[in-house]
C-alpha cells in the first residue's frame, strides 16, 4: 500500500474532538470507578457477611461500654479502698496516741486533746 505525502498530512492534521468527547470520557471514568467499588464491596461482602458486620459493630460498642463501666467501677473501688486505708491509719494513730499518753509514754499534745474522740463514720 502506498501513501502519498498528502495522505499522511491529511491523516496527521489537527482534528477537534466531538462536542460530547469530555462528557464521554468522564462518564467512562465514572463507570470504571463504580465498577471497581462494586467489585470491592462484593469481595468484602463475600469475606464478611453484613450480619456479621452488624454483630461486630455491636460487639465493639458493647466492649467500649463495658470497658468504660469497668474502669469507672475500679476507680470508685480504688478511691473507696484508699479512704478506708486512710481512715484505718487515722484510727490507729488516734488509738496509739491515746494509749501512749495514758501509759505516760507520750505527752499530751494538741492533737491528742483535739482528737480525744476520733471522728467516726456511720456505716
Amino acid at each position: 500500500m502506498h501513501f502519498s505525502e498528502d495522505d499522511l498530512r491529511a491523516a496527521l492534521s489537527h482534528q477537534d474532538p466531538s462536542p460530547d468527547f469530555t462528557q464521554r470520557v468522564m462518564a467512562s471514568i465514572g463507570q470504571a470507578s463504580e465498577r471497581r467499588r462494586k467489585a470491592a464491596d462484593a469481595r468484602f461482602a463475600s469475606l464478611v457477611p453484613p450480619a456479621m458486620l452488624r454483630w461486630a459493630a455491636a460487639g465493639v460498642a458493647a466492649c467500649l461500654l463495658l470497658g468504660t463501666g469497668w474502669f469507672d467501677f475500679r476507680h470508685t473501688e480504688g478511691e473507696r479502698a484508699k479512704e478506708q486505708a486512710m481512715l484505718a491509719l487515722r484510727v490507729t494513730n488516734a488509738k496509739l496516741n491515746h494509749v501512749f499518753v495514758r501509759a505516760g509514754l507520750q505527752h499530751t499534745g494538741p492533737a491528742e486533746e483535739e482528737n480525744s474522740k476520733i471522728r467516726k463514720e456511720h456505716l
Partner: protein, 195 residues
Amino acid sequence: MKETISRMKRLGIVMLFAVASLALPVQGQGAKLQLNNLEKLSHKASEVVDVTLDGPMLQFASKFLDDKDEDEVKAKALLKGLEGVYVKSFEFDKDDEYSAEDVEAIRAQLNGPGWSKMVEARSKRSHEIDEVFVMKAGDKIGGIAVLVADARELTVVNIVGTIDPNQIRELADHFEPNHEQSKHKKDKEHKGEKD
C-alpha cells in the same frame, strides 16, 4: 545404698524448703485476729468504724494514694509491707453494752504464741483498759494489735504484716483524725492573711 542416702538428702532439702515457704505466710497470717465475734455489737453501737482491708485491697488502695500529698506518701510507704488492716471500733450511748467475754475472746488470741504486750494502761476509775500488742518477726514487727476498752467504747485495731518499729512512732505522729480539717483550717487562715 549411697544413691538412696543422696535421694533422701535431696528429699529432706526439698521438704525443708517446702516447710520454710509455708511458714512465711503463716507467720503473717498468725498476726491476723479473729474479730467476727464483735460483729454482733454493730446494731447496739451508736457509732461504728469497721475497716477490713486485706493484702490485695491494700495494694490496690495504695495505687490511688497521691504522691504529692505528704500524708499519703507516708501512708503508701507504710502500706507497702502490710498484709492486712482491720479496725473495729464501737461507741455506745449506754455503759456495758458489750460483755467481758467479747474482749476476752480477743485477748485470748493476743495471749497466744508470738504476741507480746508492749504497753498497758488500766484505770479502775474509768473502767478502761488500753493495750498494745506486737508480734515479732526477727528485727521487725509482723503485726500490731491495739485494744481500747472502756465502759462506752470498744476498739480493736489489727495491723498484719511487716512494719518497722520506727513506723509505729511514725504512725502515732501522723494521720491525725482531724489532720484534713486542721489542714483546711490552716489553708483558710493562710487565705485570710492574704486577703
